[in-house]
Symmetry: C2
Subunit: 398 residues, 2 copies
C-alpha cells in the first residue's frame, strides 16, 4: 500500500458533522478546486479576458484533461477527450460504432444500464431511421445474447443501482468473437476501480467526471476511442471544435485527426478548471490501493448493516469482485429511510423503486465513517424514524 489516504482525505472539504456516502453521485469539493476556480475566474476570465483561450491554455484543456483521465482508465495519450455531457458522448460513441458495423442492426444492452444511455440510443435509432433495434436483456444474460446480429454491445460497467460489475474483459472478448463493437460507460468506474480499456480491448469508452473523479456539479464528460478506430470513427455531432482547422472557418466540415474530432462546441472552462484540480488528487494514489480499500470498507459496511438491520436486503452482489465501489440495500420504504438518514447527517441516496445506495470512496471515507453510518442506519430502522411525513415528502431529485 503506497497511497496515503490521510493525505487524500485532507485534500477535500468535508462539511462538519456529515458522513458522506454519496460520492458515487457527486464527489465532494477538493480544496484545490475552489482555489483553481477562483484563479480561473479572477486571473483568467477577469484579467486576461478573451486572450485566456491562448494565454491560460483554455483551448488545450479538453485534450489535456482527457489524457489525465486516460491514465486512470488505461487509455493511451491522445485517445480521450473531455466535453459535453455523458449522454452526448454516448450518442457520439454509438453513432460512430454503428457506422463502423453497417451491416448489423442490433444494439445490445441490459436492463441495468443507466436510462439516459438507453434514451440516447432510442433517439439515435429514430434519427438514423435504418431499422436499428435496442435489445435489452437481464445483466446476467448479456453474454448469451451476443450473437452475430449484434452491431454494438453498449453497457455500463457498474450498475448505478446495485453496484453489480460486468466482466469488461470477457464480454468485450465475446463481443469481438461475434463481430460486435463495444461501448463501455465508465460513469461508476473511472476513479473508483482499476480500469484498463486497452487491455480489455474496449472499442469506445465514455464516462462522467462528477462522481468518483470529484469534478464538481455538472462537470463535463469524457470519451475514449480505441486507436484502431481513431481515423474511421466519425463524431456525428460535428461541431467546429472537432474540425481540423476550427479557426479557418471553412464552410464544410473536415474532421480533426483522432480524438479531437469528438469535441463539439465551446467547452465549459470554469467546470474544466475544477476538474483539473480534482484530478491532481489522483496523482497521489495507486488505483490498486483505492480498489483494495474500497472493498475492505464495503465488506465492513455490509457486515455491520446486516448485523444491525436485518430488515434491509443486500441489493449489491455479495462477491466483492462482482461489485463496483458502492453498496446498495433494498427496503420498501427506501425513500423515507434515506431521508431519515440525511436528516441525521448520513448522506447516501435513493433510486426507485426501493434502493438505498451508499458510495464507498476511500479517498475521503474511512472506517469511522462506515461505522457511524451503520450505527445511524440501525437507529433509523430500529426506531422506525423513517415513518414520518417529513421523510416521505418527495423532492424533485430523489
Amino acid at each position: 500500500m503506497t497511497t496515503d489516504f490521510a493525505a487524500t482525505r485532507a485534500a477535500f472539504h468535508l462539511p462538519e458533522g456529515i458522513t458522506y456516502l454519496d460520492g458515487n453521485s457527486l464527489g465532494p469539493l477538493p480544496r484545490a478546486a475552489a482555489e483553481r476556480i477562483e484563479r480561473c475566474v479572477h486571473k483568467e476570465w477577469g484579467e486576461m479576458l478573451i486572450t485566456a483561450w491562448n494565454r491560460a491554455g483554455w483551448m488545450e484543456m479538453p485534450l489535456r484533461l482527457g489524457d489525465r483521465i486516460g491514465r486512470l482508465i488505461g487509455a493511451p495519450e491522445g485517445t480521450t477527450v473531455v466535453g459535453d455531457t455523458l449522454s452526448i458522448k454516448v450518442y457520439q460513441a454509438l453513432a460512430a460504432a454503428l457506422a463502423l458495423n453497417p451491416s448489423r442492426r442490433v444494439i445490445l444492452s441490459d436492463t441495468g444500464n443507466f436510462p439516459s444511455d438507453l434514451y440516447m440510443a432510442e433517439g439515435l435509432i429514430a434519427t438514423l431511421g435504418q431499422g436499428h433495434r435496442l435489445k435489452l436483456v437481464e445483466p446476467e444474460e448479456v453474454a448469451g445474447h451476443l450473437t452475430e446480429e449484434v452491431a454494438v454491445l453498449m453497457l455500463t460497467e457498474v450498475d448505478y443501482r446495485t453496484g453489480r460489475r460486468h466482466d469488461m474483459w470477457a464480454l468485450t472478448a465475446r463481443a469481438h468473437e461475434v463481430g460486435a463493437l463495444t461501448i463501455w460507460d465508465l460513469a461508476h468506474s473511472a476513479g473508483a476501480l482499476e480500469v484498463d480499456v486497452t487491455a480489455a480491448g474496449a472499442d469506445f469508452a465514455v464516462g462522467c467526471t462528477y462522481k468518483f473523479l470529484n469534478g464538481g456539479p455538472g462537470a463535463p464528460a469524457f470519451i475514449h476511442v480505441a486507436p484502431r478506430h481513431a481515423e474511421a470513427a466519425l463524431p456525428a455531432l460535428s461541431g467546429w471544435l472537432g474540425h481540423d482547422a476550427p479557426f479557418a472557418f471553412e464552410p464544410a466540415y473536415r474532421p480533426a485527426g483522432g480524438i479531437a474530432r469528438m469535441r463539439v462546441g465551446t467547452p465549459p472552462v470554469i467546470q474544466m478548471a475544477a476538474l483539473d484540480a480534482a484530478l491532481d488528487i489522483f496523482d497521489m494514489v495507486d488505483m490498486a490501493d483505492v480498489r483494495a480499500r474500497s472493498l475492505a470498507l464495503s465488506e465492513l459496511f455490509i457486515a455491520e448493516v446486516e448485523r444491525r438491520c436485518p430488515e434491509l436486503v443486500l441489493a449489491s452482489p455479495r462477491a466483492p469482485e462482482e461489485r463496483g465501489s458502492q453498496v446498495s440495500f433494498r427496503h420498501p420504504e427506501g425513500y423515507a429511510v434515506m431521508q431519515a438518514l440525511i436528516a441525521r447527517g448520513v448522506i447516501g441516496d435513493f433510486r426507485a423503486p426501493d434502493i438505498i445506495r451508499f458510495g464507498i470512496t476511500p479517498l475521503y471515507i474511512g472506517e469511522e465513517d462506515i461505522l457511524r453510518a451503520a450505527a445511524v442506519l440501525e437507529e433509523v430502522m430500529r426506531n422506525r424514524l423513517w415513518d414520518d411525513p417529513a421523510c416521505r415528502r418527495r423532492a424533485a431529485v430523489t
Copy 2:
C-alpha cells in the same frame, strides 16, 4: 433613456489599462458572477453536497435561466431552456424542424452563417441519411432562394464576421409563405439587440450566453421552441433530463412536456451560477436603450476610424439598422494589426481571412473607450506597428 450605463459599467470587472472591444466573443467578468460562483462552490457544492440539487435549486436552473433569457428575446415563459453548447442546440432545433416538415429536403442557409451551425447540419444530414441537402447562398440572396423545396431556413441573425444583420421578421414571414420553418441563431443578438422571436414568428431560436450575455467562458447555450411546436418538436438528443420523469428511471424515453424535453444531460451548475449573476445586469437595462447607445458608439467608431485610418475598409454595413452590435474592418494584414492592438491594450479579434472585429457593448464601453481604440488603431496603422514578427506569429486561437 432610462438605463444607467454608469451603473451597468460598475457591475463589471474591467482590467486596468485595457480597452475591451471583444465582448462579442467573450463578455467580461460581472462582479456579481465572481461572488455567485464562490457561493456555488463553497456554500452549495462544498456544504450541501448532493442535496444542493434540491436545496440550492440546481435542478431548476436550466428552465429558470431559460426564462430569464426568454425575456430578452421576446419568448414567453416556459419556452426557453439553457444547456449544452450552441452547436448541440442547433442540432436539436434542426432535427426537430426537419421532422416537422417531412416532405422537404432542403436546408437553406447562407455563407455568413457561423461554420459550426453548418457543420452540425452536415452531421445531422449524414445521420438522417434521407437525402437532405444544405443549400448555402449569399446573405443578400436568401429571400430569393426561399422556394417550396425549402424545409428549414437556418440563419444567424447577425454575421459573426461583418456584423451584417438579417431582417428576421421579413425572412421569417417569407419562409412561412413558402411553407418553410425557421431557426434563428441569436449568438450575436441576445443581449445586444432588441429581439422578439414571438413577434417575428420564429419557429426555433438558439444562442450562446458567453458573448453579449457575459455568462463566462464556456457558459451554456439556450434553445427556444415556439409554443405552437412545443408538443410536436422532439429533441433527437433524448437524454434523461428531458424525460417526463427523469428520476423514475424508466427503460423507455417519454419526452417531458414542452421545452423541458430539450434538456439532455446533467447541466454545468457552476457555469450556470455565473450566468445567473450575469443576467442580473439585464434586469437594470432597457434593451432599446442598449441598442440606441450601441448604434451611437458604432457610428462614432466608424467615423473616427475612417478619418484616421484610410487603409482600413469598412466590412460592416454602413446603414446602422443593417448592423448588429459590432464593427468590422478589412485589411490584408488584419491578423498582425490585431496583435499590435492587443499588445497596446486594445482588445478586439481577428477572423480569417482579413477581418478585424470590434464588439460594441454599451453595458461597459463608453465614448472614451471608442476614442482611445480609434487613436491606438491610428498609431498602429500610421507607424506600421503591425509589421513586426511578434505580431505575425499565429496563436492557437485567432
